[in-house]
Symmetry: C2
Subunit: 184 residues, 2 copies
DNA sequence: GTCTATAGTACGATAGAC
DNA sequence: GTCTATCGTACTATAGAC
């Protein structure tokens, strides 16, 4: 039996999602996930710093999707952040909605996983803030613009994965932005 | 020696903060905190669901401070949320700044504690959203208004506890709101 | 109040890829 | 040979079960 099959991280992610769906998050041990993926517990922790992390995107590529879509320069920080949100739509195509729903159901049932998700979004806001500040925006305005952008993203995503929702990610995002404009 | 000295939760909180400052969060065990407060480990977990919780406000009173300051009715959800923020200033008087700074330094050094703080603020946003939705605001607008309000609070608090900052909480909050208006 | 399962860490050894 | 992914084991602290 090959000790080296490659793609261990991917196998672990798939195995974890399946086990969490049938047994629940708390009802599944790291040892079980590892066994289902054909590796040992020790290997699981080489790929993921902790059990929760197996359910999340790599933070670097996640943030990069938003940062790369930021316009090179802009006087209006809110407009810049909203442009960045456009890049995120690429991550949430129709073919991923099912997977996202399954994942979200697991997270919604577990406060610890919600905490991790919030941390990831908060780190994104910090990166956006830093990027805007580097363009000469004052720190408070930069932070407010970044948080607003993340709020739009969070609201869009939540709606997109809601049961029965059929509109595409960009369609929902447009509506959320419409509501934001109406609020202000 | 009295077996029942009362205020166990308070003693545990004080003991925890002191130990975290001198030994770090990870370097301090629940057993040490309990011993310093004159109780057993078991008692610690009777008062706090987990180790992190010892550093945080009771969520109900924290949320209540904002919800009670919400105006009874308002056509403008953003204005309503901002009114709610006014109530929060009561929690952050000058006499608490030192304690808040010490606490914040510990949280800033530990991702797990940041996660917990984010969860608390997220739960606050959920409560604000529900309150607004109960007043007939559509769910998306309510969520955006609530998130905006929490962003203002977070930004204000972060500035208030920054090293060298001397302005009062309401003064900083006014400036943050000023920046928000300028952004929109 | 006692007991125990499991997450997560530390250090070390081994084996395939190049 | 080097580099990197895997595995072995012993250990502590949290947190929940009894």
């Amino acid at each position: 039996m090959a000790r080296w099959q490659g793609g261990a991280a991917e196998r672990l992610k798939e195995a974890a999602l399946g086990l969490f769906q049938t047994q629940g998050y708390d009802g599944t041990t790291v040892a079980e996930i590892a066994a289902a993926a054909g590796v040992t517990e020790r290997t699981f922790f080489r790929h993921f710093t902790d059990k929760r992390e197996v359910l999340f995107f790599d933070q670097q590529s996640f943030e990069g999707t938003f940062l790369n879509a930021l316009p090179a320069s802009s006087a209006d920080p809110i407009a810049a952040v909203i442009a960045g949100l456009g890049g995120a739509a690429a991550l949430f195509g129709e073919e991923r909605r099912g997977w996202s729903r399954a994942r979200q159901a697991i997270i919604a049932a577990n406060p610890g996983l919600q905490e991790r998700e919030l941390l990831k979004l908060s780190l994104l806001a910090v990166s956006l803030t830093r990027e805007l500040a580097g363009r000469g925006i004052d720190p408070i305005s930069a932070a407010l613009a970044a948080e607003t952008g993340v709020a739009v993203f969070r609201t869009t995503f939540t709606t997109w994965v809601a049961e029965g929702e059929t509109r595409s990610f960009p369609e929902i995002q447009d509506e959320v932005l419409e509501r934001l404009r109406a609020l202000l």
